[in-house]
Symmetry: C3
Subunit: 365 residues, 3 copies
């Protein structure tokens, strides 16, 4: 801790403290504006999300997604406008992260704050009633009295289902064990459609998608695969790329259900052999094993030397480890930062629907 850095004085020169508040890059407003232009508004579809919990990607059909993406694109195109209009004024979010996660927690909380609502956070399982043996049903009853919406992350798959039984306010599954993470998957599809809007209409050349990971043990992958079935006509093939260490790539019935949904699946272990043909490379480093995490094998890495197709994009739910080199950050393949940014807006859209405040943000004719 002793300050030995002779260069600090120079480094602290005031001119070096300046930063550029806006940067020309893929995170710009052109793409959300294009989506906004292409999708006609249908308020009734958004209203159908009232009085519903959001637990699984299965709950979203193409039409509902389109309207959510439209509203997200509206927020993303003009973020300042809506942070001043406060559509969630007077509403309280209970942000319950029993499995700690700064990134997802802040993403939801930022979305709620930008809509003008208030938040109460639980960031630690140890200090809660759960630790003392309180049932999740009782916690749900408590939450009914204290808030207007719940965001729950827990290592247990069943927690969100147990809590749901007693809730009369909506709950969002922000990750339940190895099961699902539906809002991450919505953010993934939102990013893909900003990149290739023609997928919405099923026109254009079908794409090849590579998913690096193990769908049986990665909730983000599980939810994404479910949503991809809605766009199967635009997808040539989905290639599951894993490190060969997992015994079971799919959980029971998972593969059959996805194939029934229209996806062509192929499972491989040689990443670099597939990369040159992929339009989207989705990489995720972390797999659940019982109560802890396991990192993907050493060969499952993307670097500046990876033989990426020229116009292909990389997606990653973040946080990343070694598997995704920062050398790719300043390339056109980097759509993972756009994906993280878009997640805030898709959550804003979903939260507006679930609190029945869409009337304050849609265009009244």
């Amino acid at each position: 801790m002793v300050n030995e850095n002779n260069n600090n004085a120079a480094a602290k020169d005031d001119s070096q403290m300046s930063f550029e508040p806006e940067r020309p890059d893929v995170y710009g407003q052109a793409q959300p504006k294009e989506l906004l232009r292409l999708i006609p508004e249908d308020h009734d579809v958004l209203k159908s999300l009232a009085n519903k919990h959001i637990i699984s990607a299965r709950q979203f059909d193409k039409e509902t997604m389109l309207q959510l993406f439209r509203l997200a694109a509206k927020y993303e195109s003009n973020p300042d406008r809506f942070s001043e209009s406060n559509p969630l004024q007077g509403k309280i979010l209970i942000s319950a992260f029993y499995e700690p996660s700064t990134r997802t927690r802040l993403s939801f909380e930022s979305a709620w704050h930008r809509l003008g609502g208030d938040i109460m956070s639980i960031t630690d399982r140890a200090s809660t009633g759960i630790a003392k043996g309180e049932s999740l049903e009782d916690i749900g009853e408590m939450f009914n009295n204290y808030g207007d919406c719940v965001v729950l992350r827990d290592i247990g798959e069943s927690s969100v289902f147990d809590m749901m039984h007693s809730l009369c306010i909506p709950i969002i599954n922000a990750g339940n064990g190895t099961d699902e993470h539906p809002t991450q998957a919505l953010a993934d599809i939102y990013t893909i459609l900003k990149w290739r809007p023609e997928i919405m209409s099923g026109t254009g050349t079908p794409i090849k998608i590579g998913l690096i990971g193990v769908p049986s043990r990665m909730r983000a992958l599980r939810s994404l695969l479910i949503l991809l079935t809605e766009y199967s006509e635009s997808i040539d093939e989905v290639i599951i790329i894993h490190d060969g260490k997992s015994e079971k790539i799919f959980s029971e019935d998972q593969q059959e259900q996805l194939e029934q949904g229209g996806l062509k699946l192929r499972v491989v272990t040689d990443l670099n052999k597939e990369i040159p043909s992929l339009d989207i490379v989705y990489i995720n480093s972390i797999a659940w094993v019982k109560d802890s995490f396991e990192v993907m094998g050493q060969d499952m890495k993307l670097t500046a030397d990876s033989p990426l197709k020229p116009n292909s994009i990389i997606l990653h739910p973040l946080a990343r480890g070694d598997e995704l080199s920062p050398a790719l950050d300043n390339t056109n393949h980097n759509w993972y930062f756009s994906q993280a940014r878009g997640a805030v807006f898709i959550r804003m859209a979903l939260l507006t629907c679930m609190t029945q405040r869409t009337g304050r943000v849609v265009d009244i004719l």
Copy 2:
């Protein structure tokens, strides 16, 4: 953690994600509306709570309670109206829970947010100045600069008194060791008056109250017993029911003071023998023993088979363990959920008085 549940796909069918936002039950608005009708408003009484700390149930006489209950009933009858009017706009609550408690913390924070105020939370003693040896008086000085009101929970009985010495903003005792928890007791009485408004006027048949627990070591019971002395003319008898494991049922002078206050006390150990005659059964599972908790004995349980009197009600400060069976939740005896719900409104009423913002919510003639 591996997903083996074949039924999840079916369970996730969207139609099963719907919920009923309103449920016909005892938590309805009829009871608070009745209280509101019966109690004439007296703004001067509420103004007498300005510039006062709230430490003990001893501070509340019948008239002050009535006006607090009236304001709580007003909030409960029309919650949306007041969350839009923001009477605490610009006020900051310091929510200091050195003894962790999600339930009480969220109850206070929800109350404050519903009134439009902002909150800074301390949820962990380990990371605070107290852990580094800072005095409570100094922490009080700090709080003066940073907020407009303090809610304090601590395992030490004396912490709230120590901090009070330096405070020039109001503090609320949200539980100090085995000593008191006055706002819980206010919530208890508020619930009882919603159930039997005639107790306010001392008319009607006197009731029998059974308190399962040990008043020497349970702060919620201690505070409740103090408040019950204000209604002694409506109470036939207060029966303390314990498991026989405690050497000392009352702390020094406690019994004498309650009897001087007009309560008829009786101490027993056979729960089921008393139940058939009780109008109110108040049950609390947890007793303090030194720095930790002790659970009440196995015989101190309420179940669907307990010989409850037909129109009797059950109260519980929650969280509950085994001692109160969920099988009672859907019976008319369940007033403990109403009690938890009402606690938010009584805290809203008290906080409005302590921040001197009653002028924004009472009816000006």
Copy 3:
């Protein structure tokens, strides 16, 4: 925990729960009003802080400080006015305290809330992406998406520099290891100028300042010394008083740079010998040693018996331990409480500039 205190009943008498909301003392409004009167407003100087990170005390020249102090004095003179006008409405602060600190965290959060903004807090390093190996650059990218300003405290000196590389929202260094704590130093100078406004103009008798501590290992001292160079014409001497246990009083080049800045430095170990000649005694108990703290030696204490010069003032960044006796709290030497209070207003001023909302609070002609 068992309640044995017979006096509690008496102590709880309601009349003893009253407090005085305002107290006549040095923390009054006369001093900030005087500063406000003496400093002419220059909005352009405040605007120069837009799109800049605040990392080091080196970034502040005399003119910038004066305008910040003017704005702080404006807030301090009339705190209610600005908490109603909400200049930071719709803005989100990310309050990231990876090294826990209740006092500094609440000071920043109170400042932000008083300006009407929303906050997301991180109070624990263990539950964050950093613990999982996420890079600070990636965390900076995340923060760009989620908030409008970052306040960072970390035990690592380099963390704030690493995070800065990816940020396109402003970050404030709220303490980085042994390096700097620039907003504490601004609060110190603001206090000194409220006490002796003539220092602003370099008029009046030069003062003697004693700094009890080790500048090589105390970030608050390091930053304060840098700012004092801007006022060297008003300072007769700066005396570093330490306990003799430290091998290295200054870090490399520190002494030379301060002397080049115009300060006359002297290093001593006999506190009581110097006290009678000091106009300001700045005391700080805690020094960093590697990853933990070390308390100053037993002789480095201020008590009611210390031979303080009649009109001298004591400053302390707080929290305090044994080194500063509470017996001094009720003397005219106590400007440390004023210093803590002023820190909120100086942070309000700085945050208003960094979020480019000065237009909402300066006087438009």
